[in-house]
Symmetry: C2
């Protein structure tokens, strides 16, 4: 039988492909997953292959709750964890359940390009909130909330990535987190906190999530195993207060299909429960931190005109190009030098093209350094704005 | 670690629970799945745990295509199979991709209650088409299409279960299938063919699907492994002509998450490819056929006043009550006798309450006969309409 490609995207062997935010397939814990998959039915019974209860298999909900209690300092139970088929599916479901056609949705700009596409697949209006090195600009958020409320069409929902932002690598400052929570409560704004990079913290632990800071606020925290265990399992979860979970749980699609990822979620439960997941995450942190450091050092050497903040976690360096260079124009030049990246326009609601997103997850240090060298060479070739 | 419940729903030991359309957990092929799960990474490589390509893992697409070619007489390739996370998720995605707010959606009445709920979770208008022992009433369909087109608000989509209908057990007559396909082409009506019970045919093979009859028609055929392999895997697929598949493939949620059920779909691919699936399905047909026969015989004995057509496949007997009995009023009486069923009002857009749906999938023959006996006793107690 034909083996599968190792990645979601086609990687050209002669190109340093820094466009894709995928885990390195070499780091996927194949033995842990294979061993757990073989133990699922003996350990959990044949219910692992049946339609599961809508909120997901209890052992995974318990394992995730125990980890949150242990690592994030908020004492929670399985009832606070609702299993999903990964963050992408969870965002899509949340939009379907919590919005009506024409609702105003706020996003950061820049934001995760495919979340933006998912939002735009729904019949919604989208407005961008400013974002800087401190994360979401809460003053701009407040102004927009006040304006939209004044017009009688208050914003329904904010999609935000406060921790190790994609693409910007930022973490929302603590004081801004508090302001955001206050504003959400005050304006009845539902905050969808995409928290997929939390485990991948390289310098110190990730800042507290909005949800753990204020579990009674209107926050849906989306967690995932796609970056830290295996995206192919398609397992994530939602944390939120009980009334929000209840609304999610009332979706007909869940009543029909049951648990969104029953067998995979059982596999994940066994991996987490036996402690192997902790060791795996510790290893990922070390490996990805070294890759980040290598890319950062090589960018400083080869792309001195590029400005960026060193990300404390996640997969991305968000590099600001010299003022006269367009990322989109630079891309074909870079490709000729054997480098690919994601131009900033993909992530910005206004198409701003001042940045490139460089993912450091897929390659080892030497290859990342070579990518930075090629970026420097491409910039030297020039890619002026029109 | 706590074992999982064996079913999605709570089964009371002293009640014959005929309300739930679930496979019998005792019939789930746990060894086949466990063995396949252990072979996924060795056989297919670590790409089975990575983000998969959006259309799903090629080995499953190939295995399903080979089975369609072999069993359904239409020569197709992997490109004609788009893997989903099960039919429920597929229907939800299809509605999101192919409809706009306010669109008119046609359903049969009766129809699958949770599909109806899923449709109603979207901002759509729903209209019911008549349905009788021959399946969907195509004359009524034509009249509705002509009326809605005349009003300038043509129906966008029809959700239908032409083969071993849930709840009615019917198969759409061949001539009606042809009329339906003609009407769909003529009116640009997208037909969503829920084909989840195809494998569970008891008397002779299932009739050809709408999609295999006319693969160029605007039909999305939704296939699934939930009834014939294991619902916990959450694996299904869509068959449709290329332009429809392309529109599905363009959904942002798929670009973001990749293959909707990557690892599970790889497990399924290995089960199907080694021939074990064929043997398993043959066994399911024999077991469920015997259960159908037992329920049918016992109903004839104990509920002579109930009218029903013997279903040629699927999970359900759709029994018409005596004219003066309401299913909803009968239910608490039946519960006192230790029997539960799904009252017809759940499946009918107008709340008609003349039928009960009896699922024969969960119990052995003796227990099903006991269920029929209890239904007869409940009817003898009386549950007159108000």
């Amino acid at each position: 039988m034909q083996r599968l490609p190792r990645t979601q995207n086609d990687l050209r062997p002669d190109v340093v492909e820094l466009a894709f935010g995928e885990p390195d397939p070499s780091l996927l814990p194949t033995d842990l997953v294979t061993s757990a998959a073989a133990r699922v039915v003996p350990t959990l019974g044949r219910g692992a292959l049946a339609y599961g209860r809508r909120p997901g298999p209890h052992p995974l909900r318990e394992a995730v709750a125990a980890r949150i209690t242990d690592r994030e300092g908020l004492s929670v139970s399985a009832h606070d964890v609702y299993v999903t088929a990964g963050n992408s599916q969870a965002l899509d479901l949340v939009l379907a359940v919590f919005t009506k056609p024409g609702d105003l949705i706020l996003v950061e700009s820049p934001t995760y390009s495919l979340a933006l596409r998912t939002i735009r697949d729904h019949p919604l209006r989208v407005s961008a909130v400013r974002h800087d090195d401190g994360g979401l600009d809460v003053d701009d958020l407040q102004a927009q909330l006040e304006r939209s409320t004044g017009e009688g069409r208050g914003a329904r929902l904010l999609y935000t990535i406060p921790t190790f932002h994609n693409p910007a690598g930022t973490c929302l400052q603590d004081a801004r987190r508090r302001r955001l929570l206050e504003l959400a409560r005050e304006h009845g704004l539902l905050v969808v906190e995409d928290d997929v990079y939390r485990e991948l913290a390289y310098d110190h632990d990730a800042p507290p999530s909005l949800w753990t800071m204020d579990p009674g606020a209107p926050v849906l925290r989306l967690g995932s195993l796609s970056k830290s265990l295996a995206p192919g399992l398609r397992v994530g979860w939602v944390n939120a207060r009980a009334d929000l979970i209840e609304r999610l749980d009332a979706a007909g699609v869940l009543d029909s299909g049951g648990s969104m990822a029953q067998f995979s979620a059982c596999v994940a439960a066994l991996v987490i429960a036996d402690g192997a997941y902790d060791r795996h995450v510790a290893r990922l942190r070390a490996v990805y931190a070294a890759r980040r450091d290598a890319l950062v050092a090589a960018l400083r050497e080869h792309v001195p005109a590029g400005r960026f903040a060193v990300p404390g976690g996640g997969f991305f360096v968000w590099l600001e190009l010299p003022a006269d260079v367009s990322a989109t124009h630079l891309l074909p030049v870079a490709e000729r030098h054997g480098l690919a990246f994601a131009p900033g326009s993909r992530f910005c609601t206004d198409g701003a093209d001042t940045h490139v997103r460089l993912a450091f997850s897929l390659y080892d240090e030497d290859r990342l350094a070579e990518g930075a060298r090629r970026l420097g060479a491409a910039l030297a070739d020039g890619a002026r704005r029109d």
